[in-house]
């Protein structure tokens, strides 16, 4: 089976999964006997959770396939009892059956609508890297992990491997090079990725843990990771690299559960897209032991 065929094969499982979700019928799926399913970090039986409430699929769809690990990722919009929501999905295929199902449901109506207004994913997520320039899996993961390492306790002094035109989309919202209408002391969203990191603004992200680099697509230069961003809440203001101090408004312990997709070209991050939802501070993913879940070490 060629790699392209494997990609189509893996993506066909996403299509089957989504169709079964809408009909609320997991028995339509080729599930492994030992299939494991989590939704927002909780282990459920297939048929529960979003399986009860999905009413239709949305128009936004983005797939990433890993022909080596037989895993496939998907970001897309759905309707949950008619309300738009965003779904991040990871399937692991073994012996033509689905062995692992990991989902994050972001119940962010405005975010889902923003994605649909975009119409289609950023084209770089679908473009192949020329064979001579393809990086190894390890090299791709290393670059993606530099993003988390640079962001965790961000001090503005790290190595930040971004292209100049790199942008980040979080639940459909462009959070870089996109001036906000708010009257913030620092309009961080107006800056590019690298400039953002160089400010040292993100120091309030106190731990980026349980870094699982689960889907790597060498052909397209893509890495999909599932991680948690912990905010201990004890950094209400940040002293920036330029010496000024700005409030950041994070004054309670909370955690983002995130599926984050990186496009990497020539050892630089070219585009980022994330699906995220708030979960209890310190929550486990359901795919890691307790110590792994609290560690900031990269795993794949």
């Amino acid at each position: 089976m060629s790699k392209m065929t494997t990609r189509s094969f893996l993506e066909s499982f996403v299509v089957q999964y989504l169709n079964a979700l809408v009909t609320h019928n997991p028995s339509e799926l080729p599930l492994a006997e030992t299939v494991k399913f989590t939704e927002n970090g909780q282990r459920l039986e297939p048929g529960d959770g979003l399986w009860n409430t999905t009413s239709a699929l949305g128009s936004y769809k983005l797939c990433v396939a890993d022909p080596l690990s037989w895993q496939v990722g998907f970001f897309g919009t759905i309707r949950e009892s008619s309300t738009p929501a965003i779904l991040a999905l990871r399937l692991k295929v073994e012996n033509h059956t689905i062995a692992e199902i990991e989902t994050i449901v972001a119940r962010d109506e405005a975010g889902a609508q923003r994605l649909e207004q975009l119409g289609s994913p950023h084209p770089v997520f679908l473009e192949a890297i020329s064979p001579a320039k393809r990086a190894s899996r390890e090299a791709l993961i290393e670059i993606a992990n530099m993003y988390f390492t640079g962001l965790e306790c961000n001090d503005g002094k790290g190595v930040y491997p971004f292209t100049d035109d790199c942008n980040r989309l979080e639940n459909g919202k462009q959070t870089t090079n996109n001036p906000s209408e708010n009257d913030w002391p620092l309009d961080i969203q107006a800056l590019g990725c690298k400039a953002q990191f160089e400010t040292g603004f993100f120091r309030f992200v106190t731990r980026i843990r349980d870094r699982r680099f689960v889907v790597v697509d060498q052909e397209r230069g893509l890495v999909l990771a599932f991680v948690f961003f912990d905010h201990a809440g004890n950094i209400p203001t940040v002293k920036l690299s330029d010496g000024s101090t700005v409030p950041v408004g994070v004054t309670r312990p909370f955690t983002w559960e995130i599926a984050e997709l990186f496009k990497i070209e020539n050892s630089l991050i070219r585009q980022i897209e994330a699906v995220l939802g708030e979960v209890p501070y310190g929550m486990n993913s359901g795919w890691s032991g307790w110590e792994e879940g609290l560690s900031n070490r990269a795993r794949w």
Binding site: L50, T53, V105, G233, N234, T251, G282, W290
Partner: protein, 310 residues
């Protein structure tokens, strides 16, 4: 911290348990667990997540409990609970705490933290209702087992939408995250507009004006699929308190609640997706009836475990 808070050997009597939890709260605000008699294998969860002692509210606590403090001590079970208001980075929170003590050492710490408390809710959180502070006269006490059955019957009543399954007193009043959710003053229809949103507020006002029994029977809680596990862990016979840490499970499949027996209210929309809610919930039982209910809760991903399930 040099102070040794608690004797590390011997049986914990009532006074010892109550002193321990006060010392615990002091240590929490000082952000220093070192002086506490923690067992080597102590387990700590906050809003169900297992995190190291010293993390979570141990980082965030900025001021100790206000006058709103409810305690429950259970000597036979070696457990003690606190439910009260304190501050996290200067903002009020409602904290439910449970400590388990074995041989003088704290082996289990459970926090349920409710955050973002509104000013309206804070008005009910100045001091506890008198029932939570008064011991139950011997003549009005019931057995430990009966207290557990009564508290459990409340959850049955919720699950089955049947107000006759639990012994509610005429004056039973429930507060959830500070909000009084039963026996409120009936709303004046003239003060509501004609928009759909206003009319929904009026409908909820009518439901919140009902007593607990009638409210159960009107089926407003039919969106709650299950309450499991119920974890009624602290029984304070002297004060007539049962303190539980129930997990409320909502499948999200009830999108329209059909209301029964409330004039002017036929249906209530329920637009939440699947979700869980971890609560800390205290029942005051006197004369074999539930009088006061005080609860806090935090929303969780659907299917969340308590962190203490087998």
């Amino acid at each position: 911290m040099q102070k040794k808070f608690f004797p590390t050997t011997g049986q914990c009597d009532r006074a010892g348990l109550l002193a321990l939890i006060d010392d615990y709260l002091k240590a929490l605000v000082m952000k220093d667990p070192a002086g506490l008699p923690l067992a080597e294998a102590v387990k700590y969860t906050e809003n169900t997540a297992a995190i190291p002692v010293g993390d979570g509210l141990w980082v965030a606590a900025s001021k100790g409990p206000t006058a709103f403090r409810i305690y429950a001590a259970d000597v036979p079970a070696g457990q003690v609970g606190f439910f009260g208001v304190m501050e996290e980075f200067g903002e009020p929170i409602i904290l439910a705490v449970r400590l388990k003590v074995v041989g003088g050492k704290i082996t289990e710490i459970e926090h349920v933290v409710a955050r973002r408390i509104s000013e309206t809710e804070m008005r009910n959180l100045v001091k506890p209702r008198p029932g939570f502070l008064q011991a139950v006269p011997s003549s009005e006490r019931v057995s430990r087992q009966e207290m557990l059955q009564i508290a459990n019957s409340y959850f049955e009543s919720v699950e089955q939408c049947n107000g006759d399954l639990a012994p509610f007193a005429v004056d039973t009043e429930r507060h959830e995250n500070g909000k009084q959710t039963t026996t409120n003053k009936p709303p004046d229809p003239a003060s509501f507009g004609s928009s759909e949103r206003e009319q929904q507020k009026l409908a909820m006002g009518r439901i919140d004006a009902l007593g607990v029994r009638d409210q159960m029977n009107c089926r407003i809680l039919s969106y709650i699929t299950r309450i499991q596990p119920r974890r009624l862990l602290i029984v304070d016979e002297e004060m007539g308190l049962v303190y539980g840490f129930p997990m409320f499970i909502h499948r999200g499949n009830v999108r329209t609640i059909q209301i029964i027996g409330v004039p002017g209210v036929d249906t209530v929309p329920m637009l939440f997706g699947p979700f869980n809610l971890q609560a800390g919930e205290i029942f005051k039982i006197r004369g074999g009836q539930i009088h006061e209910i005080e609860a806090n809760g935090c929303l969780l991903p659907y299917g969340s475990r308590s962190g203490w399930d087998e």
